[in-house]
Symmetry: C2
Subunit: 160 residues, 2 copies
């Protein structure tokens, strides 16, 4: 697996990853009718670095890395990760996370924070725990899940 910075030529592949996740609305707090341009700005806008994972020339996942807050909060990074449809179970998420930990360190961040991990997203919660993230906050009923209704969201945090 090759993980490299995203370039505009990747945007069709990125949108093919983002669209089903956004439309499904089960894991990200994004407008379910979000359009391509807004989604690509969210994922790959100028305020963040965006990487893609490739296997044999095919993009199988992506993540972004940015400062979570400004000013006195600027030493904590925030990341978002997505795996392409049909690419689950190949270690893509774990490889992206490992890459983001090294990248955040190289960029001088002292920690990574996930602000809003949907509590029913078991695979993600398990993976982040395995990568050293702790649950440092629980937001009661903060996510309106399309099938499950109001459920908790988690804040997860890992010092670097």
């Amino acid at each position: 697996m090759l993980i490299r910075p995203a370039v505009p030529a990747d945007y069709d592949a990125l949108w093919a990853i983002l669209e089903p996740v956004i439309r499904g609305g089960e894991t990200y707090a994004l407008p379910r009718d979000m359009g391509r341009d807004d989604a690509l700005t969210y994922w790959a806008g100028p305020d963040r670095k965006t990487f893609v994972a490739e296997i044999e020339g095919r993009i199988v996942g992506s993540y972004y890395l940015r400062a979570n807050q400004a000013g006195g909060g600027g030493h904590v990074a925030n990341c978002g990760y997505m795996t392409a449809p049909g690419q689950g179970g190949r270690g893509v998420g774990g490889a992206l996370c490992d890459h983001s930990l090294a990248q955040a360190c190289a960029d001088g961040f002292r920690a990574i924070q996930f602000n809003f991990v949907v509590s029913t997203n078991d695979g993600a919660v398990r993976l982040w725990r395995a990568k050293g993230f702790d649950v440092v906050g629980r937001l009661p009923g903060a996510f309106d899940h399309p099938r499950l209704g109001f459920i908790d969201a988690l804040t997860m945090f890992r010092p670097l």
Copy 2:
């Protein structure tokens, strides 16, 4: 005390409140060199409602109210509050908070979340607790305080 929507004619007074808080950098995770236009967009931009508190025609405080997340997180509001220099101890913060609770309710929100309360901001933490907010998260060392170094930030939450 009159609490009413902010209008552009209030922006000089708002900036006089925002500037010392931003320059001090002890309570908000904002760039300490943030300029007036960026600060007013942060506080009174089109993605939020902004209110000011007046006593005898003088603006003594302000708050904003917005959705904290989009999509499945859109039912939780986020607010920020500031009291004008020299106006502490007059109940301005409490009155703003009460107004925001009613306003968030009227706007259909189901809860208010504060993402990043600097843990050494004792007056604020005490006031939010008195207004029914619970600490639901603690972000270790997430704020670089200009005098105290790396200290915790709190996530506080109140159902409506």
